[in-house]
Structure formats: C-alpha cells, structure tokens
Symmetry: C2
Subunit: 164 residues, 2 copies
DNA sequence: TGCAATTTCTTTATACTTCAAGCAATTGGC
DNA sequence: GCCAATTGCTTGAAGTATAAAGAAATTGCA
C-alpha cells in the first residue's frame, strides 16, 4: 500500500490489480455455474453442455440455420460445429439439408425428436438457473445485467482495436 | 405479457426468464474475454490458456503445490491436471518431486525458467485485462465485484443443496 | 467472360476435458 | 496390528476445442 503526503491511499500509475481481480471473479463465477449445469445435464438427461447449447440455438428458429451461423452464435470454431452436428445427426436429434441455391451451405434443423427432447431439458434447465441465482434480488439482477453489458461492450472495443 | 384485472403487468408464477438472460449474458461476456485472452497468449507467447492458468496458480506459492491442490484451485478434474503438468514438465517449465512422508503425493513447482517466463507473460496479461475492462469506472468495478460475489455465493448454496 | 478473392464447410494435428475405473499408499476405527 | 475406507494420482475412452490447410462453390469485378 502506498500512502501520499496526506496519508491517503493512492494507486500506483499502472496498478491494474482491481481489473485482474474482477476478471478472476467473473471467471470463477462462470466456471462454477457452468460446472453445475454440466453435472445436472449429464445426471438428469445424459447430455453434454455443448450439445444442449447447440440445440438451444436451433430451437430459437423454425426453419434451420447454417453451420456458420451456429459457429458465430456459439462463439466456437467452424470445425467444432461440424463434429457436434455430425454426432447430433447421428443420434437423430438434427436434420441437415443442402441449400438449393448455394451448394456449399447446409441448413441444420432440430428433428421432431430433437425439439421435443430439448424442450423438456430446457424447462428443467430454466429452473436450475433460477435456483442458482436465487439469492439475487430483481434489483441485483438488473444491475448485473447492466454492468455485464457494459463489460461486454468494453471487451468488444478492446478486441476490435487489437485487430485493427 | 400478462395483465391482471387492474391492467398492471404481472409475472407468471414461474417465469424465470430474467435469470436465464442473466446467465446467458454472463456466459457470453466470459467467453468473449476468455477468447480474447487466449488469442493474445497464443499470438504473443505461443502458450495456451490452461498452461498459463496452471503456472499462475504455482506462481502464487514458493514451495510448490500438490496435483490435488491444483485441480481444486483450477476447478478442473484430476486427470486433466495430470496431463497438463506432464506437458509442462516436459517443456522444462515445471518440476515435480515426491513427498517423503506420503509417497502418493507429488509436489509441483515452477522451475527458474518457468517462473521467469510466467512473470513476463503475467505482466502483459495484466495490461490486456485492464484494457479489456477499460470502459468500466472504479465504481462499476466495485459494484460488479460485489454482485458477482453474491452470485457466486448463491451458486454455491444451490450446488451444495443438490448434493445434500 | 474470366478468374482471383471470398465464403462455406471439412479435415487434420494437437491439445484440453470429463468421467469412470483402477492402482498404490495412507488413515481410522476396532 | 488388521483391514475397510479414504486419498492421491494415473489411465483410457469419448468428447470438445483450436488453428491451419484445403476442397468446393459462389461472387465480384475488370
């Protein structure tokens, strides 16, 4: 701790300790919840988190999505999605058909089975999440939403600047 | 939207949409930052995030840590740590020796090389994080810290209840 | 039209990750 | 002192993840 001439605590010019601690806390918090959700999904439905996430993306649309869309929305690599989709088609949860106007493109959809199973899981999942955040007041939630939005914007600005 | 008899908006008894949206935002935010940090580590130092994280744990102590300690602190499985440590010993960053009082236990330490390289990376890393959160005011950071601590506590309570 | 750039997706190599099973060492009753 | 339970770690199988290279199709523009 550094004290100035009037014995008040001051920061070193580039002490970025608070940001680092914030990042570690954010990461811990997310990892903790993610692990919990992963366990419950495996335990109750014998499904992995990546598969659940992929199905969640597809459940939001009725007419299917391309692999590229999926990888963008899930923020994972293209090749990763290829493999996930492959296994979910194999298990009968997804359905793929090639675009008629652009033969590079594959539209991926949930099958009836896939959608039915997903809906069942999603209903439980939503309750788990509500319980996991159960100690937070509506005001806490609003504040967190606001601050995380700000953090996201800041991170995007930083990432963009690096790639410019 | 549901309206009651006096035409005021009311919630369905178990609509947990806000918690779910909070979780998705938290996850997005973390994934975004994690991806950014991962890219930069690879680009500047040709190191993976898990290796960096493991070295960060070891840098906090002078006399080494056991594999179990590492896996608890990193919140990953035991087998995962075994592999990570193996590769880092191989590359000369870590050092392992068996406990003399309990031959099951292995103490893992950073080598001189490992510590030197880590310190260099950590200094850069701290600046990246500061930049990534650069749009947040000190007050924003304090608030986020507080709310994330509360969220973490809530998640732990929920996880504990499930395993009871 | 021609053809270079781009886009979409797959493949490959390598690494990370979990879970579950298993081995060896230690501990805690009795 | 014995032995069942526990602890620390490793292994193996399956799955998830990235980056990089490549194949196929489309687009854009001279």
């Amino acid at each position: 701790m550094i004290l100035d001439s009037e014995t008040k605590a001051v920061e070193l010019p580039d002490d970025h300790g608070t940001e680092l601690r914030l990042w570690l806390r954010l990461l811990t918090c997310t990892t903790l919840i993610e692990g919990e959700v992963r366990s419950r999904l495996r335990e109750k439905f014998d499904v992995t988190l990546p598969r659940f996430d992929l199905m969640a993306q597809l459940d939001k649309v009725s007419d299917g999505m391309t692999l590229s869309d999926l990888s963008k929305r899930m923020m994972v690599s293209n090749g990763n999605v290829t493999g996930l989709v492959e296994r979910l088609v194999e298990s009968g949860h997804l359905d793929r058909r090639t675009s008629e106007t652009d033969r590079r493109v594959q539209f991926i959809r949930l099958t009836k089975l896939g959608r039915a199973e997903f809906r069942k899981m999603a209903a439980e999942h939503e309750k788990w999440i509500a319980d996991i955040f159960g100690d937070l007041s509506p005001k806490d939630i609003r504040e967190l939403m606001r601050l995380l939005a700000k953090a996201k914007g800041s991170a995007q600005r930083s990432a963009k600047a690096r790639n410019a």
